[in-house]
């Protein structure tokens, strides 16, 4: 995985609360056996009209959204199904961070394993971001801070080990494998 230290981008705003993983990628697109190419199915039921043409009213189909790598979403983003296809689709589309006031547990864990930063901020910061779609912001992962164009610098929590892996481009399976001796001892102590 590519290391991530800072991320500078304009934002796209999807203000709806409780955006569940069925909205991020509907189940009918899960009949795949790879993780590639799911970006085209991202938010499919909102993004495309019933005849398959892009829905011009949907924010990702508007010119201002082009090239954005940071999604600002309503409270409780990523709730529902554990499908990792949700962060795979977001990353394949081009997003590298999601900012909200709450992000669901399993989604958050899956996102971190795919270089997608789940950034939880206070409601005042979130409110400002919702009101300023397209704002140019910077995520400083080393400092755990989100920098707004107002000059505000907001800290965000992120699990320490996941942050370490992201900063150095490490795969956390390597760390687990380094514990195989301890795992074997644990198994022996329990009798298998």
């Amino acid at each position: 995985m590519e290391p991530i230290t800072t991320l500078h981008s304009t934002t796209v705003v999807l203000a709806s609360t409780n955006i569940d993983t069925d909205q991020i990628i509907p189940a009918r697109f899960l009949t795949v056996t790879t993780k590639l190419g799911l970006g085209k199915s991202l938010f499919a039921d909102w993004r495309y009209l019933s005849d398959g043409r892009p829905n011009p009213d949907f924010v990702l189909n508007q010119p201002a959204a082009a090239g954005s790598r940071i999604l600002v979403a309503g409270h409780n983003f990523g709730c529902g199904s554990s499908r990792e296809h949700a962060p795979w689709a977001l990353v394949d589309y081009g997003f590298r961070a999601v900012v909200s006031t709450a992000i669901a547990d399993i989604f958050s864990s899956n996102a971190l394993k795919n270089g997608l930063l789940p950034i939880v901020v206070d409601s005042a910061t979130h409110g400002w971001l919702l009101e300023h779609p397209g704002a140019a912001v910077t995520v400083d992962l080393a400092a755990c801070r989100l920098l707004l164009p107002t000059g505000a610098s907001v800290s965000f929590p992120i699990e320490a080990f996941a942050r370490h892996c992201l900063l150095h481009g490490l795969d956390d399976l390597g760390y687990l494998q380094s514990k195989l001796d301890a795992i074997t001892r644990y198994e022996s102590a329990r009798g298998g």
Partner: protein, 466 residues
């Protein structure tokens, strides 16, 4: 020593390496359940890295999410209609063979929805850690196990190391007291709990359901409760094992037998949270006041009593968006709204007791004209039991569509879908936009309410029929 919660005991017993400020715990996983939709990418990672499944003996595979429910496609010569689903089935068959994992294949008598078959086999046991690439893995917490859903990358981690990197979650006591009224079920109770704490109220927590109401529930009812923990945002929900748990497990094929059984029960009796154990959060629910519940919106927390009106929240954009999708208005009553489809099944309500409940309503009655009632057993074993008990005959006589087991219309991956704009009363777990098909409108309810609504062709209170 401070009093410990059940969660704390199970967690500590599985710490291979405890967490530190810099590193999460290395948590040992006793049982890894897999299925065709979230495993292929994890097997591909193993193959690409030259790794093996470390503990095939702790891994169990089934086919459920994208598999057809039509008898011709499972047992006949008709190929699986959805090509991509057929490829997923073949991929899991090949991966299971290549990596030495036990698979309950398409025609296996033990096949079924992953969260139905593992308890049925006695593979799910108290005190275990259980994971699966499926958020409804929380179901297994009904046995006092710590069970939660994971992503496909983590499926790969468990394959390779039988462990996961995890931060310790907080604990949340859901105290439920009082007797459920006639016609009010475990499904109504969990919908009411989600309505109370909200769809993100459990985020970061493991729920423990406690109290006299929970103690009085059967194992199948407890599974319905724990199943929907994730709909409150909690990765896991747990219920302390007791005599109800032990009598359910006793004699099941993968439960311990003989002296090992006695030893296991003695150990399991020590799992319950100790008196005075502290929880990070709690809520008290009066079960005796509950009525049958039904959802009116697009998440499981948007729920009302069946006789109630849809709340009027004209200034709440979330509610307005949901009502616009559902074609409802604040202030309208739920009773009497027309229904096109009724789905009885899923890992929430696809077990034998659920089918018995549906049969109690459907016996000697007919499904209303124009309504499609789809009844999908949670497993092939549930199917055989329902057929042996005459339930399937009751369903067929009523005009229901009786199928082979699978996830089916809960998520509509296998072609069993609800058409755009149609209303489906469903015993499943999610009423998200498009969950049961593009534009489908889902109303979550109990098997009683679902069956009664099928009989009248409109949303109905099941109690007069019981």
């Amino acid at each position: 020593m401070t009093a410990r919660t059940m969660f704390e005991k199970v967690w500590t017993a599985h710490e291979v390496v405890p967490e530190t400020p810099d590193t999460p715990a290395v948590l040992y996983i006793d049982l890894h359940l897999i299925h065709e939709v979230t495993s292929p990418q994890a097997f591909a990672m193993l193959a690409a890295s030259g790794l093996r499944v470390r503990r095939p003996d702790r891994t169990l595979a089934t086919l459920d999410h994208s598999t057809p429910t039509s008898t011709e496609q499972i047992f006949g010569n008709v190929p699986i209609r959805v090509d991509a689903a057929a490829k997923q089935v073949q991929t899991l068959e090949k991966n299971a063979a290549d990596f030495g994992v036990e698979l309950f294949g398409l025609r296996d008598a033990r096949r079924g929805v992953v969260h139905v078959i593992s308890p049925e086999l006695g593979a799910t046991q108290p005190g275990m850690t259980i994971v699966c690439g499926d958020s409804h893995t929380s179901t297994h917490g009904a046995f006092g196990s710590l069970a939660f859903g994971i992503g496909s990358t983590e499926v790969g981690h468990v394959f390779a190391t039988q462990c996961l990197l995890q931060r310790k979650p907080k604990t949340f006591a859901v105290n439920v007291e009082g007797r459920l009224a006639h016609g009010v079920t475990a499904k109504d109770l969990i919908l009411a709990i989600i309505g109370r704490i909200g769809v993100s109220g459990g985020t970061g927590y493991v729920l423990e359901y406690r109290g006299s109401t929970i103690r009085a529930l059967s194992m199948e009812e407890r599974m319905t409760i724990c199943n929907m923990s994730i709909e409150a945002g909690a990765r896991a929900g747990m219920i302390a094992p007791d005599d109800t748990t032990f009598s359910y497990l006793s004699g099941r094929p993968r439960a311990p037998h003989g002296a090992a059984w006695d030893e296991a029960v003695a150990r399991w009796r020590g799992l319950a949270s100790e008196s005075g154990a502290a929880f990070d959060a709690s809520v008290d629910i009066d079960a005796s006041a509950l009525e049958p519940m039904i959802t009116y919106g697009t998440n499981p927390g948007m729920v009302v009593a069946i006789n109630a009106a849809i709340p009027s929240k004209a200034d709440d954009p979330i509610d307005q968006k949901a009502l616009a999708y559902m074609g409802f208005h604040g202030g309208e009553r739920m009773l009497g709204k027309p229904v096109d489809v009724v789905f009885i099944g899923s890992c929430t309500n696809g077990r034998l007791e659920d089918l018995q409940a549906a049969a109690r309503i459907l016996r000697g009655r007919k499904v209303a004209k124009g309504v499609h009632l789809l009844i999908v057993p949670g497993s092939q074993q549930v199917k055989r039991e329902a057929e042996a008990a005459g339930l399937a005959d009751i369903f067929k006589a009523a005009g229901a569509d009786w199928r082979e087991s699978g996830c089916s219309m809960c998520l509509g991956m296998n072609g069993d879908t609800v058409a755009a704009g149609q209303y489906a009363v469903s015993t499943s777990n999610r009423n998200f936009e498009g969950r049961q098909g593009v534009g489908a409108r889902t109303l979550l309810a109990s098997p009683y309410t679902a069956a009664a609504s099928a009989v009248f062709g409109k949303i109905s209170d099941p109690r007069p029929l019981l």
